[in-house]
């Protein structure tokens, strides 16, 4: 089962993500407490997947940083405003594709 690290999100969004992941039986191993601390948190926890807030202006930069430093880790950046997410597949540094965000699609991206 994949181990997930959640980046910094607003309270409601974090509760929503927790709800979604719990519903899928996905384990959240850590929640980053700040945007700055996320990369060190990732290197400490070594999750399989990192979920970032796409609405945060640093999200794409952070995603690239994580995937280039830890190629085995998948990064999924989800917006909490628009129903959009970007998935950074491992082995394709800096490359991402945007897709529709739904509970089912996010669960699929998290567990595949």
């Amino acid at each position: 089962m994949h181990r997930v690290l959640i980046g910094q999100f607003g309270t409601v969004a974090r509760m929503g993500l927790r709800e979604l992941l719990d519903g899928q039986g996905i384990e959240v191993v850590a929640e980053a407490q700040s945007v700055e601390g996320i990369v060190s948190c990732v290197s400490e926890v070594r999750p399989d997947v990192v979920v970032l807030d796409l609405d945060d202006e640093d999200a794409l930069g952070t995603a690239e940083e994580i995937t280039s430093e830890f190629p085995a880790i998948k990064v999924i950046a989800c917006s909490c405003e628009e129903p959009v997410m970007r998935v950074f597949p491992p082995f394709h540094h800096g490359e991402s594709y945007a897709s529709k965000l739904s509970a089912a699609l996010l669960a699929l991206a998290l567990s595949s």
Binding site: T11, R14, M15, G16, L20, C80, E81, S102, A103
Partner: protein, 208 residues
């Protein structure tokens, strides 16, 4: 088991939000007496009003006209979530009878539950910044002033300051029952669904 706790009637909340993470998060904020009745994204699927007491909807993206259409001729209470505090739609929403409003950026379990509780109590709830914007709007038209008595205007003024029925009763040396009667008369006379709408309309018309 402690049976002395008064049982509150459950209030069924329907949440419409087009972002699944935020929508699930709002649902997770609910605690008794509030229950999740159902959820939808941009009114798809259509909210089931037969099992909904309060509809929570997004102000933007045609949310307001959709919600107002659903609420017409029903007792449905409306609570809106606004992305932008400057949005003129927010003023329009309050004037149209939306009971509570919360800014998306302010959303947390406390603010959301507070907004729902106020809506359920018929008091309405607005972010302070919105209320002050309503109060500072240019005043238009005095014509309707004659429709309300001094006593009713006095109560409306105190309502606009956010006072509760009890506080108003104390301030004006009336009984709470009298204040409730006056508020009721004002709502009927102004054809408003709730206190927040009456305050918004009275402010806009320059009555208070």
């Amino acid at each position: 088991m402690d049976s002395s706790v008064t049982e509150e009637r459950p209030l069924r909340i329907w949440i419409d939000d087009h972002n699944p993470i935020f929508r699930l998060g709002l649902g997770a904020c609910l605690e008794p007496p509030f229950l999740l009745a159902g959820e939808s994204a941009r009114f798809s699927p259509q909210p089931d009003l037969t099992r909904t007491d309060i509809l929570v909807f997004e102000l933007e993206q045609a949310g307001l006209p959709n919600a107002l259409r659903l609420a017409r001729d029903t007792d449905l209470l409306l609570v809106t979530i606004a992305a932008d505090i400057e949005d003129e739609l927010l003023v329009e929403a309050i004037e149209a009878g939306v009971t509570g409003a919360m800014l998306r950026t302010d959303a947390n379990p406390n603010t959301f539950l507070h907004t729902l509780r106020s809506a359920a109590a018929g008091n309405g709830s607005l972010p302070t910044a919105v209320l002050s914007r309503l109060l500072s709007r240019p005043r238009v038209g005095m014509r309707a002033a004659g429709d309300l008595t001094d006593r009713e205007l006095g109560v409306l003024r105190l309502l606009s300051k956010g006072e509760s029925t009890r506080q108003i009763a104390e301030d004006l040396c009336y009984s709470e029952k009298t204040v409730k009667n006056i508020v009721h008369d004002v709502l009927v006379r102004m054809n408003c669904r709730n206190r927040a709408q009456a305050v918004a309309l009275a402010t806009r018309r320059g009555l208070i």
